[in-house]
Amino acid sequence: MTDTSSYRTLPDRLDNPLKSAVLSWESLLVLVAVAIFIVNSFASPYFLNAWSLSDLTFNFTEKALIALAMALLIISGEIDLSVAAIISLASTLMGLALQYGADTPVLVAVGLGAGIACGAFNGFLVTRLKLPSIVVTIGTMSLFRGISFIILGDQSFKGYPASFAWLGQGYVGWVISFELVLFAVCAIIYWVLLHRTNFGRRVFAIGNNDVAARFSGVRVDKIKFILFCLTGLMSGMAAVLLTARLGSTRPSIAEGWELEAITMVVLGGVSILGGAGSIIGVVLAALIMGLVTFGLGLLNVPGIVMSIFTGSLLIVVIALPILFRMWRQRA
């Protein structure tokens, strides 16, 4: 689905760094986030409160963990639509392990391991068999969630131990939840990985031109395989947190999350065509979506109506710069 009509051109000289920082996507996102924050504080008297703001973070941390890895995958020119199905399968397998008397460390290992295994399966199909990732992951999406349905049917797993529940519900100190700390740590790791390592440079190189990258000695398939495994790992991590937070597993868990994670990534300024994007943008986009849904939640807006806002936000935020550029060219 790459569009050959948009050629990248090299400018004669780079813009002033300050100017480009001010006009960057990230500063636009900061503005949007601040605006929503202010609107929320005026709209609801319950918003500006340490505990409310702490609750807010539960709204997006799990999805945002996936979005971090998904950002790298999309920058490399691939996509994974099976992440929510991986959560379902990982959660089901954790529930199964629980039936055999597994303790918290084993449960976490099962969740993360299942995630990596699913990611590796996607990666294998895409890199070894040379299949388009969008179709592969539509298939594995049905397959993974389908296996959960085979195992669980209309039943559910319950009775997770308290030490496991802490992972999704516990606080490290005051109002800072374990989930938030984990997300912050992961965000920093992914920022370093993408923006400060050779690996990250190669991810960008693959996304811009994977043939050229291959000729420059980049092991394209190996890197893409690793990215699929990382996305699987983060989905497994989200499965651990979500299962711990809800305290139960159903096959329909996390339905529709794949689209929300991708929305975060695209809203964060990652090009869906690959080759461009930043982790800071994704983190800001996750925060914006958390703010929007939480703010609307305080105003008693049903979840399904919130989705109109996130959908519109996605299109408007992408369309506005394009309209602005068209308007400037005409003027």
Partner: protein, 326 residues
């Protein structure tokens, strides 16, 4: 090329036949004509939707909003029917086509005029349309008691031994066959998928053609909205939730290449029928319906592996060597 395409469809037809034979061995009445016609009728809506999706995928685009379009248009039509039972059904059907086309055109304009990648556009409109269903209905359902008898009965009528719903699918398939093989628009859809840059040089307006593809897909989705609601006699926010991926699955199983430019009407029909046969066969051979999702997932993966082997491009030997060395 043509022979290769025919080849693939024959393999798919054989696979369907094999499933039918295997199930018949367990349960002899499965392959009776009456049951086969039921399966065809059950697959009708999916066939129509998959044909609409094919028009979009051929141009290297994708429409994730079809199921949401279906739900929204279906809800509008159902609410109109509940409020004004006097409005004749053909008017409502025409209206569903127009509303669906309008929603599809909205996707199309964003792709055409703003050049936003289709997957982003339809990801956004998917959630918007689905949310609007809730907004206009207030979360309430429109149930059988509120719908007029005609609204429910029309597609169940029998004409020349086939339910009217099946006839809709047959007519739609015929129209798409003509569109794809006998019109300039059909050729343009394929041309854009094969090589967008070359299409521009041959004088095809790529953006406008994509716009038309999205509008066609939207019109089909809207029309199927009426059919879906009147078939399952319930209109709610959850109608056809997640169905967008089943539609794409039918296309992929039917041999449509997600990279654009490859696909045929008979292939897509067989892809939809394949999923229909699987869904009908599972309960018959006493496999829990909970297996359905995993099996269709496995079928998609198998189909895409087989398709890829057929499409494997020649040339670029130097790259393969570099690849093998890595």
């Amino acid at each position: 090329m043509n022979r290769l395409l025919k080849h693939r469809e024959i393999w798919l037809a054989l696979a369907i036949l094999l499933v039918v034979v295997l199930v018949t061995m367990r349960f002899s009445r499965f392959s009776q004509p009456g049951n086969l016609l039921t399966i065809f009728n059950d697959s009708s809506i999916l066939m129509m939707l998959a044909l609409g999706q094919m028009a979009v995928i051929l141009t290297r685009s994708i429409d994730l909003s079809m199921a949401a379009n279906l739900a929204l248009t279906g809800m509008v039509v159902a609410m109109l029917n509940a409020a004004f039972p006097g409005v004749p059904i053909p008017v409502l059907m025409a209206l569903s086509l127009v509303i669906g086309a309008g929603l599809g055109a909205f996707n199309g304009v964003l792709v055409w005029k703003l050049n936003i990648p289709p997957i982003v556009v339809t990801l956004g409109t998917l959630t918007i349309f689905r949310g609007l269903v809730f907004v206009i209905s207030g979360g309430a359902w429109v149930n059988a008691a509120q719908m007029s008898p005609d609204f429910i009965a029309l597609q169940r009528g029998v004409f020349l031994g086939l339910p009217v719903l099946s006839w809709f699918a047959i007519v739609t398939a015929a129209l798409f066959y003509i569109l794809m093989t006998r019109t300039a628009l059909g050729r343009s859809l394929y041309a854009i998928g094969v090589n967008p840059t070359a299409s521009v040089y041959t004088g095809i307006d790529v953006g406008k053609t994509k716009f038309l593809a999205f509008t066609i897909a939207g019109a089909v989705a809207g029309f199927c909205g009426y059919l879906w609601i009147s078939r399952y006699v319930i209109a709610s926010t959850e109608v056809a939730s997640g169905y967008e991926l089943t539609i794409i699955a039918a296309c992929v199983i039917g041999g449509v290449s997600i990279a654009g430019g490859i696909g045929s009407v008979p292939g897509v029909l067989l892809g939809a029928i394949f999923l229909g046969v699987i869904n009908n066969a599972l309960p018959v051979i006493n496999i829990s319906p909970f297996w359905q999702m995993a099996i269709s997932g496995a079928a998609i993966l198998l189909a895409v592996v087989l398709n890829a082997r057929g499409e494997a491009s020649k040339g670029r030997v130097i790259l393969k060597k570099a690849e093998a060395g890595s």
